[in-house]
């Protein structure tokens, strides 16, 4: 048994039975990071001292007989776009290379209150713009299942850390698929909650109307446990929903009898890897065998979602990222006057993809172009949302691939941004509609994990958690672990780029 591939609830049991201590557990994870992170490169910052201190606190409480919540003493990681007081938060951007927030994000507060142990901050595509974690301003993260492959993005560091045994679970953020795509590529579970379910306070904004924080985890129970901690209304986020949050573990029932699952035909057409198609079909069959009813549905405006996204998200980003100007914090490149200072700071501080999207967004919002681009994209967004509304009149949830292909090779798509953008074609419509979706591993293609996506109604994370749990219980396909169970040396040599 290795501590670094158990789930949070399994480790919680060990902690409760005093078979291990949180300090031992944390040390095991820190050792694992030391061993493998040179290859995986999931972390931008490792907070070893803090983690051990938090672990010791959890142990102390346990020793005093305090009843602790399920994640107490469990080592986890956060994407580096969530603010952590006193700990560098860079968004993997050079422009925030030295930014240490004076405050905690709401999710940080909630996790720390729940006793979780912060191991560090994970690498990502700069400002969450990308699908491969190759757009980090520092270094690229690699896929723990195959070091030649990308981990997906933008929460690639978080997904890779969980897959490589470097964290029990992690938080990611998802604007167009940034939790689900890396979850699929790295063979872990990733849930993007309904927009408004989890507070965005302290999440450094990329596209505010789409961003949402969610868990990356090893199984559905962990996913539900993390959701129980992070979900819920927050007065500091006006877009967070003032709704009651259910206990998500209540949906971990191995019963999908009568569940109506829609298979949107637009997600299963051209451009889909045949083997991936096969796995999606097999997931549908599995659910049917367990008593669910699958039927084909249509989401006719799906093809317009990607272009609409690439107007709306950059438009919001162009404004959200305007504050990185060298005046108050972050990188400043000195110059003779204020305008040159702005321009030099931003030219040197931002990477290519971020600049591309700032330019796209600035253009789309410009006087005379607003109606043709932004306004039209917002109309498309309404149509995309209506597609889902109509489908949900007949179905309880939808099943699709998470991405048309398994993880691609490092460098394979960096030359052509458009092909890179297509990785998110199955995940982006969900963000535009603001609804919840999760990616769960289901089989592998050429040794690389495949994820299937379950999409639910707004604020009905419960149903997709139930369906995901059924897939997990009904097959042995949802935890592709081979890469993790080999020794580091074997694993590294077998997948050396």
């Amino acid at each position: 048994m290795s501590l670094t591939n158990l789930t949070a609830h399994e480790l919680g049991d060990l902690l409760n039975r005093r078979e291990i201590s949180s300090v031992e557990l944390t040390e095991a994870y820190l050792r694992r990071i030391e061993e493998v992170d040179g290859q995986v490169r999931a972390f931008l910052t490792v907070t070893a001292d803090l983690a051990l201190k938090q672990a010791a606190e959890a142990d102390g409480k346990r020793a005093r007989g305090e009843k602790l919540p399920p994640l107490a003493g469990i080592p986890m990681a956060m994407k580096d776009n969530m603010c952590t007081r006193g700990i560098k938060t860079t968004c993997a951007s050079r422009i925030l290379h030295n930014f240490i927030p004076p405050y905690d994000a709401t999710v940080t507060e909630r996790l720390l209150e729940a006793g979780a142990v912060l191991l560090g901050k994970c690498n990502m595509d700069e400002f969450a713009m990308g699908s491969s974690t190759e757009n980090s301003g520092y270094f690229a993260t690699r896929n723990p299942h195959d070091l030649r492959a990308v981990p997906g993005g933008s929460s690639g560091g978080s997904a890779a850390a969980v897959a490589a045994g470097e964290a029990v679970f992690a938080l990611g953020s998802d604007t167009g698929g940034s939790i689900r795509l890396p979850a699929a590529f790295c063979g872990v579970i990733g849930l993007k909650p309904t927009y408004g379910r989890v507070s965005r306070y302290g999440l450094v904004a990329y596209a505010s109307s789409l961003d949402q924080i969610g868990p990356l985890a090893r199984d559905m129970r962990d996913c539900a446990l993390v959701m129980n901690v992070i979900a819920g209304h927050d007065r500091r986020d006006s877009t967070s929903a003032p709704l009651e949050v259910p206990d998500y573990t209540k949906f971990l029932v191995d019963d999908v009898r009568g569940l109506k699952v829609g298979l949107p035909r637009e997600y299963l057409g051209d451009g889909l890897d045949e083997e991936v198609r096969g796995w999606v079909k097999r997931a549908a069959e599995t659910l049917e065998k367990l008593g669910a009813v699958c039927e084909e549905v249509s989401l006719p405006h799906t093809r317009y979602a990607l272009p609409a996204y690439y107007i709306i998200a950059p438009a919001e980003a162009s404004s959200n990222l305007a504050r990185y100007d060298g005046v108050q914090y972050g990188l400043r490149v000195e110059a003779d006057d204020i305008v040159s200072m702005y321009s030099k700071t931003r030219s040197q501080g931002f990477g290519e993809e971020v600049k591309r999207r700032i330019m796209l967004g600035t253009y789309a919002l410009s006087s005379g172009y607003y109606d043709a681009y932004y306004l039209k994209a917002m109309k498309v967004r309404t149509l995309v949302k209506r597609d889902f509304d109509l489908a949900f009149e007949k179905c309880d949830c939808l099943l699709t691939p998470t991405s048309p292909t398994p993880a691609f090779d490092t460098g394979e798509k960096t030359a052509d941004p458009l092909t890179m953008y297509l990785s998110d074609v199955c995940t982006i419509p969900v963000n535009l509609a603001g609804i919840p979706a999760l990616s769960i591993p289901f089989g592998t293609v050429r040794g690389r994990p495949v994820g299937v996506q379950l999409i639910g109604k707004a604020f009905d994370e419960g149903t997709i958690i139930r369906a995901g749990y059924a897939l997990e219980q009904g097959t042995d396909l949802t935890r592709p672990r081979p890469a993790l169970e080999r020794t580091v040396e074997e694993w590294a040599s077998s997948t050396k780029p």
Partner: protein, 480 residues
């Protein structure tokens, strides 16, 4: 005689609302704190923060809208106005673009030719920016600039008028009336010198009788009612001279230079910002409950026009007095308090308009800092009415009251100013003066009325001004 031109003016007025906390965070709004102490991650615009709308701002904005006869939008939203400036930490300002909270109102001003209605296009809510302190005179030629973000996020409303104003005087009257209404509503400190009331003017000229609008310039940086009037006068004259010479007015933003008394070009239309407005995704739309608006409307305080009418109808004040007295809420409240104790409204208004306003203006003291308690004011007027002190003495006591805040009785006692109205005591002095001035006494007896004045003066001199002048007159006449 050449072409006659008409001046067309529209004003954009920014008003800082006096809510306790800022518009999108809970930092205090108080003026005058040490730099960068009224700040938090939200108003500093740090990465990851989100704005939360302070609903008190909505209440104040809607009150202003109702007082200015506006329609209140049932559905309104916030937009981002994007531009780079170091006093704006997010490099966008949260404002309202196409769905402002109030529209289509008006305000009535008095002009030489009677009352005139000035249209109000819209009122919208927004956050204020911070302040820059430049090492030199401007950001362009300074080696460095310091940024104070205390003001960042203080709530503002911008009140945009229709181009209905036709002269600098009208512009000033509009601005003064607006200030008065906002003061009555108690939604702002309305202090131009502290920047809680700020004004930009759009000025253009057109041939008299024409319907379209000429090319306009926008004038900024006017920090008092007087500079507004002067700047608009100057700008209208500048444009008239250009047009008369056959030139064309350039559309641009100009800055008023108070010292030189001129407007200077700041930036042209081509250099104007493209603000790239779009709905702020961090804030939810504002949906207004009509019942709430009705309640606010019912709870509005009495406004200057209504109060003025009341003073005319109930107190019998002349229109002119009433409009001066009610021009500021502080003054009107003061008037009411004084008349409550001394019920001669016209006498009170004479004293307020004559003495009090003169002293306030001369000393630069604000009405609210006025030390004279209404009860003391009334007591002074009563002393004068009873003949205990002369009018001249009353004025001098009033000045002392204004300077020290002491009661009139205290001052009179301290300075031994009580008027001598004792016939016996005065009679002796009168007789002494007649005896000592036989010439003038004889002149008066021969019908030279003027000589009496001289004799009165001598009595006053003997009594150090404390003699009751009426009594002195009477006694002198009796004895001559």
């Amino acid at each position: 005689m050449g072409q006659q031109y008409e001046t067309v003016i529209g004003l954009e007025i920014h008003v800082e609302l006096k809510t306790t906390t800022k518009i999108f965070c809970s930092c205090p709004t108080a003026f005058g704190a040490e730099s960068n102490t009224h700040v938090c991650p939200v108003c500093l615009g740090l990465p990851g923060v989100l704005p939360v709308f302070n609903e008190k701002v909505l209440e104040f904005a809607v009150k202003a809208g109702l007082a200015l006869n506006c329609e209140i939008a049932p559905f309104s939203k916030f937009d981002r106005k994007n531009y780079y400036y170091p006093d704006l930490p997010k490099n966008y300002q949260i404002s309202q673009y196409d769905l402002p909270i109030c529209r289509n109102g008006f305000l009535e001003i008095n002009t030489g030719s009677g009352p005139k209605r000035i249209g109000i296009t819209r009122i919208h809510m927004e956050e204020d920016a911070g302040k820059l302190l430049h090492g030199s005179s401007s950001i362009v030629n300074s080696g460095y600039s310091l940024v104070d973000l205390n003001r960042t996020g203080v709530p503002l409303i911008e009140i945009v008028s229709e181009p209905d104003l036709r002269s600098a005087e009208e512009a000033r009257a509009y601005m003064e009336k607006l200030r008065s209404i906002l003061e009555y509503l108690d939604v702002s400190d309305v202090k131009m010198e502290q920047g809680s009331l700020r004004c930009d003017a759009n000025v253009s000229l057109r041939p008299l009788g024409a319907r379209g609008l000429g090319t306009k310039t926008e004038i900024k940086n006017m920090n008092s009612f007087r500079s507004l009037q002067r700047a608009v006068e100057y700008e209208a004259k500048r444009q008239r001279e250009i047009l008369e010479e056959g030139g064309r007015v350039v559309q641009e933003t100009r800055s008023w230079d108070e010292e030189r008394g001129v407007t200077v070009s700041l930036r042209s239309k081509e250099e104007a910002h493209d603000y790239r407005y779009f709905p702020d995704p961090d804030l939810v739309p504002i949906v207004i409950d009509p019942g709430w608006v009705a309640k606010l409307k019912a709870s509005l305080p009495e406004l200057p026009d209504a109060r003025k009418e009341r003073l005319v109808a109930e107190m019998g004040l002349p229109e002119y007095d009433a409009s001066i007295i009610t021009g500021s809420k502080g003054l009107a409240d003061y008037f009411d308090a004084v008349t409550a104790e001394f019920n001669e409204p016209k006498t009170v208004s004479n004293w307020i308009m004559g003495e009090l306003l003169r002293l306030l203006n001369a000393s630069g003291v604000e009405m609210r800092e006025n030390k004279i308690k209404p009860a003391d004011f009334a007591a002074l007027l009563k002393l004068q009415a009873d003949g205990a002190i002369s009018g001249k003495m009353a004025k001098s006591v009033f000045e002392e009251m204004f300077a020290t805040g002491k009661s009139p009785h205290t001052i009179i006692k301290e300075q031994g100013l009580a008027q001598i109205s004792d016939e016996g005591a005065l009679a002796a002095i009168v007789e002494k003066v007649i005896a000592g001035n036989p010439g003038p006494a004889e002149d008066y007896r021969r019908g030279k009325e003027k000589a009496l004045g001289f004799l009165v003066g001598q009595v006053m001199k003997e009594t150090k001004g404390q003699a009751n002048p009426g009594l002195v007159n009477k006694l002198l006449k009796e004895r001559l």
